[in-house]
Symmetry: none
Subunit: 205 residues, 4 copies
Amino acid sequence: MKVKRKAHPKRTPGRPRSAASRSAILKAAYQLLRERGVTGFTVEGVAARAGAGKATIYRWWHHKGTLAIEAFLVAVVPKLDAARTSSSAVADLRRQVHATASIYRGRVGVLLRELVALGQADPETSRRLRSDFVAPRREAAMVTLRRAQELGEIPAGADLDVLVDALWGPIFHRLLVSHTKIDRRFIDRLLDLVLAGAMQSPGRE
Amino acid sequence: MKVKRKAHPKRTPGRPRSAASRSAILKAAYQLLRERGVTGFTVEGVAARAGAGKATIYRWWHHKGTLAIEAFLVAVVPKLDAARTSSSAVADLRRQVHATASIYRGRVGVLLRELVALGQADPETSRRLRSDFVAPRREAAMVTLRRAQELGEIPAGADLDVLVDALWGPIFHRLLVSHTKIDRRFIDRLLDLVLAGAMQSPGRE
Amino acid sequence: MKVKRKAHPKRTPGRPRSAASRSAILKAAYQLLRERGVTGFTVEGVAARAGAGKATIYRWWHHKGTLAIEAFLVAVVPKLDAARTSSSAVADLRRQVHATASIYRGRVGVLLRELVALGQADPETSRRLRSDFVAPRREAAMVTLRRAQELGEIPAGADLDVLVDALWGPIFHRLLVSHTKIDRRFIDRLLDLVLAGAMQSPGRE
Amino acid sequence: MKVKRKAHPKRTPGRPRSAASRSAILKAAYQLLRERGVTGFTVEGVAARAGAGKATIYRWWHHKGTLAIEAFLVAVVPKLDAARTSSSAVADLRRQVHATASIYRGRVGVLLRELVALGQADPETSRRLRSDFVAPRREAAMVTLRRAQELGEIPAGADLDVLVDALWGPIFHRLLVSHTKIDRRFIDRLLDLVLAGAMQSPGRE
DNA sequence: ACTTAACCGAGACGGTACGTCTGGTCTTACA
DNA sequence: TGTAAGACCAGACGTACCGTCTCGGTTAAGT
């Protein structure tokens, strides 16, 4: 029941896609995004800087937004460090939220802000950003929270979805709406408030 | 020996600004915004629909965003009903948050989402939206929360700024990032969580 | 038989037209015309420089061209010296043509060129330029030519209209079409040619 | 050992210019020019009528005038019939001048008038009109005149440049300045006058 | 070695909106 | 009524990007 993988496993005819071109485009796109923001981010500019043709870009990325988001993800995601675990799941969670906040304070925050903005007009951009950037971090928090429940650090009846929203919503709010500092003190107070609320949840039912 | 400037010394020379033109432009802008969103919102389109010259628009609104935001505010703010008070400040707060959420669920939410996006690229737009739309609602909540403290419904030591952020952040997060429903059930759970957390605050110091 | 000039001889009601404003406008218009040419000649610019309102300009000059032409005429015509007469009418004519050519060589030529251009699109401008600038000079030449006929210097049967056209057409041609020098040598050759032709005209019938 | 570039080494990269677009633009431009004159001749109008983008027009024609002049030349020049020759060069010349005059009387005259006007503000327009429209006709006349000298119909010493100016200057003068009819009678009288003058030129020296 | 098919860079194309500018009109308060 | 100031409508200007298209030429896989 094995496929004969040797001769022609699943190979399309014609010249294969150029990896060099792809990475040059993504690199140029990320540079432009950092230097000039979403406003100054043009496909023409990316093509010129990457030494690529516009058609090549549009062949692989449907819209300007799709390119922007992928350039961002490719450049930023590998730098995000994985969550570490300790004996206290709640302590791990606090560490995770602080780590996220510290990322949003810097360059990435500025880019993220603009990409979220871009996503309001383009569902594809929005979806990608959500699935590849926001969701993994949210999922990591969920894992930690479930562990906290198992360890009895927070009640079993706590609504974890609302809990995560309550932690991350305010951070995005500062990033996107109030444009105020997302400093350690704010994060600590927020964690204190939300975790205290979570402790009040019913034990089981 | 005649007095030149009698009653109205503060009068600029020249033809005064036309109120009719101003309101026609704002009305046309709001219509376009509702019908076509920020993407289809063009200064040229507004001028054509309002029967105004483009120069007139640019004379009074420096950017596209400045016009969009003002059109939105002029049309939407008067419709927002004032907060009512009852014997329980916490009950008032719950009512306020539910009212805000119900507004964000509809047309206004869609517009608000796009205007926040527009504001990421234009500080002026962002500032106006914050000062004329977000801040008043936040301030109303703060007033209610202070009353709750006076009535002893929540501890005197609660950090009200963080509290308000914890309530509104998640709503904006759903509006802008996760694009999920802001339904009554979610708001209730959020209020339960956050208010429960607030109750744990220290009494005085 | 004298009109009682004191009380109200022929006086329209209301504030009379301001002579100061009129001359300030004409002066500013001429300056702008010289400095920036017809391209840079705008009614707004004239109003600003003259410290006048645009409405004032449009009240007295129907079009931009009407103003340009009058500004030109008021500034230039007084400087043109009248034709002098001598014992030889043909010598006078030669002097007149040379004088005209020398004027066209300079600044006035540049302006004249642009005003003729302006006149192609605006009949009013064209008419004014013709009646107040071209025609008087043509008429002076006709007078001289008639005197030449009376003195027997050119035949009585010469067609003076064609003669004048043959003298001035080539000058305008160089000014407007070929953009070549209208130097003394050219004028002399032209006069030689045309006057020689005129001498061949029939004596009477 | 294969040769890379065979026959056409001089090929610029990129999509070549579209001949269809070029001719559609020139055709639309000429139509607009005829229907509405230079005043109503706008790049936007040409683009709309030709189904072309404005950028495409500006890519190939730097100024409005450059486009107008080329549209005129492409449409008009092919229709001008070549000069025929007969046994008498002077008779040929008379025919040429009459032919030119008859062209200037009609639609072409109106366009020519406006294009000369346009050329006063734009040297490029002026140069093109001169080199591609005026000069060829002038050169044809020069050829005929030289033949007339060879045939002994006019003296060898005649200054042909001044002669051509004396014939065509008055025609342009009527077209551009006096706006009077360029009828057969006028042309005949002009030819009589100028040719008579030319006959008086010195024989050789 | 030859064909085929998809790739690639360059850059022209139609379209749309931008923000600016000017022409000519209108509306104030004052003279 | 005339005037300065300046707002108003209308609409063309020339620029910038978008996303598509059309060239000449390249690069494997399959023949």
